[in-house]
Symmetry: C2
Subunit: 433 residues, 2 copies
Amino acid sequence: MEFVVVGAGMAGAFLALALGRQGHTVTVYERRPDPRVNAVHTTSMNLGLSERGLKALERLGLRQEITRHVSPMRGRLVHNQDKSLRFSTYGDGGILAIQRHDLGVQLIEAATRSANVRFVFDTRCVGIDKDLPAADFVSESGNAFTVTPDVIVGADGAFSVVRKHMQRDERADFHQEFLDWGWRELHIPAAADGSHRMADDVFHLWPRGETMMFAHPNLDGSFTCSCVLPFEGPRSFDALRTSDDVESLFRELFPDVLDLVPDVGKVFLDQPTFKLVTTRTSPWHHDGKVVLIGDACHAVYPFLAQGMNAAFEDGLELADSFAARPDSPRAAVERFYQRRKPHTDALAEMSRQNFAELRDTVRSPGVRLEKACDVVLEKVLRHRWMPLHAMITNTTMPYADARAKAHRQRRILQGAAAAIGAVALGGLIRRFR
Amino acid sequence: MEFVVVGAGMAGAFLALALGRQGHTVTVYERRPDPRVNAVHTTSMNLGLSERGLKALERLGLRQEITRHVSPMRGRLVHNQDKSLRFSTYGDGGILAIQRHDLGVQLIEAATRSANVRFVFDTRCVGIDKDLPAADFVSESGNAFTVTPDVIVGADGAFSVVRKHMQRDERADFHQEFLDWGWRELHIPAAADGSHRMADDVFHLWPRGETMMFAHPNLDGSFTCSCVLPFEGPRSFDALRTSDDVESLFRELFPDVLDLVPDVGKVFLDQPTFKLVTTRTSPWHHDGKVVLIGDACHAVYPFLAQGMNAAFEDGLELADSFAARPDSPRAAVERFYQRRKPHTDALAEMSRQNFAELRDTVRSPGVRLEKACDVVLEKVLRHRWMPLHAMITNTTMPYADARAKAHRQRRILQGAAAAIGAVALGGLIRRFR
Ligand SMILES: Cc1cc2nc3c(=O)[nH]c(=O)nc-3n(C[C@H](O)[C@H](O)[C@H](O)COP(=O)(O)OP(=O)(O)OC[C@H]3O[C@@H](n4cnc5c(N)ncnc54)[C@H](O)[C@@H]3O)c2cc1C
Ligand SMILES: Cc1cc2nc3c(=O)[nH]c(=O)nc-3n(C[C@H](O)[C@H](O)[C@H](O)COP(=O)(O)OP(=O)(O)OC[C@H]3O[C@@H](n4cnc5c(N)ncnc54)[C@H](O)[C@@H]3O)c2cc1C
């Protein structure tokens, strides 16, 4: 079959690879320039790649190749305000930090090893006719053209143009919510000798209630930090107007980073602020002719570090669905939807909860106690008990199943606490009788 | 101040009236033709006008004038499938049925009695600049122009263009859901002598589970019926292809209507199908320069018959807010938002629940028993106990307060049931001891 994929982000590039391997003809159109020739290597965002993403890459024989370019993180290191540190392990597996740019280049290179896969850059989709189907593009140079493949895939991210056109005049459910928090990126350069200036094998976290920061190690000795702040209020992007404002915030909340980022005040103010959105929608497809994957149909808050991992799972499932129903594209996309939707909904919900939890890590001893019990029980009941975070990160258990299992475990934990309480109370009563 | 209102529907026409009375300059632009000159009096939709809407009209001195053109409905008459009937009263007040077209004309005529209010028809808003603010229009004849008032009001309904432009690039929450049910209108003409062919002082309801129909009386002896069916499935719009299909459905489910609508099969197939959408969003305003009212910021499922009533409440509150804060449009629109948002959210939720309830009226004796208790308690505890439907329809108690009171009452009812159950159980145990 002939596919047109809109967007060469994580979802689009991976899907092109998967479909190409199955012998389909695939053309990917991307509005940005080709990252392979784009020499300006931006010290770009990096992403956490975990078991789900790795398994998906493994299915396509890419696991080895890609894990040559990653920084493994074996757990989370919390930086307290008094500069003390607290480490908690990710358990088996851990998470790998990888630069978005590098991963993109590798996926595109792997995909184009199939002669039937082609990427066209600097070319923006401006609309589709979902019934033909046809997709309209305009290139950077102003050249407008239309293509008419068998299937159009919208892999064009959270603000998908394909989605908008596909759902026009349909009874489409659509939910979009933004966090009142945004983020800016900072860069901690390598030391003079090229080494890392903090532990290089962990995910660094500075939880400060309304404000937080985290950092991933890079292979070149540097770190990429994300500062998460509210948009409005006393300690917000809005309130930080001068270098002095920024520096005094860092001195108070992130004292151990202040010296690691040269000229942090000015650098911080020069960075753009990114928003954080979660979207949920249906339908994901139209008549076997148009289908959405990745952030185009389920953008989630990034604090569980799963969006790209889920996009890879989408890509495999969609390619598998076309293989399972070669007779009917309509049945294939419906199969894909049925198999993925409950899980991406669960992921969205867990990502939302996780943000609140992360924000409150500093405050809530209850959450911390539960987490501690979780980890102890995992040790004792090995393989029969697993903290939610471990199920999400270290396994490929479908998201909704992980959530259900975590609910069950939570009830057991609470039941046990109640039983212990009852026994204790019984003892107390006996003493006083 | 100078206002531009986009949309001369229920919300826009009412607001123009309210703002005009306060001496503001108001121009309303509407894409449709002027209903006053539009001689083709469509046997249009009619709407239930209840206490909230009436109180709002009363504040503007229009209650008398408008209630001259209505058909009062003192309760609900359920038509069972075996043609038997079951009546339940709406209590004090009741609901008035009014033709949307007539009400629109009256509001426009009342508004234009103020020399400072002007309506421009056949003119569509195609975009706004929210920061100037400026609004771009194109008239039916293709004439394009821009206006730059102090404030732009988006009263352009559920698919608001003003909202879309106002929220672009903002962190706007937006939720949209469609029912899997749609509706078509039918018309029961008057008898030969001009009289009504069913009771003319009630709201008629034919609940049939997945399918339902209801009818409002008109002043001219006719009725306007709405048939609500699923879009897909065995008994759906999709499944009704021929006149025979339609007639046999009516013969089975609505036998008493079959003979009242001449040529029902053909007429039904010729009607357009309307969708039912609920939307929830925020923000409702931008910087004191743009603000939304009515369906543009809160479309609800129509089964509680409150959308227009709520739009009138919006109009009053917005005009009052500009009067309360003449110093600051920004403070005025924020006041409006704070005062309305919790209530329109509550209305949306109750409208959603009400649809399920209405659909299940036939099936659930539990719901019916609770309703019966509600009505009895209302009689006994007069003014201290009130069924939810009565609070919504017969009072102006803010929606969220009505919902909270209903929750309290429900808990009392369930507590009482549990107590009665316990006493009964106690008796049983005593007997068997
Ligand atoms: C701050 C942050 C941190 C994150 N961290 C992680 C993490 O650690 N681990 C993880 O798994 N996920 C993470 N994610 C999520 C992850 O980035 C996304 O889920 C993932 O990138 C989604 O891939 P996608 O291809 O669907 O969308 P995108 O990566 O957004 O790609 C969409 C592509 O489509 C192109 N495009 C858009 N419109 C058009 C058009 N009209 N015509 C042509 N091309 C178009 C865009 O240029 C882009 O290249 C994070 C996200 C954020 C915001
Ligand atoms: C089947 C059904 C039954 C209902 N029954 C009841 C009931 O019994 N009681 C009740 O209170 N409510 C009822 N409602 C709800 C009620 O109809 C709406 O809540 C109410 O009409 C909302 O008023 P509005 O002015 O916000 O939107 P609308 O009435 O939709 O008015 C919007 C206006 O803006 C115009 N417009 C749109 N876009 C543009 C543009 N770009 N430029 C210029 N003009 C534009 C439109 O032409 C329209 O005139 C019902 C709704 C439905 C669907």
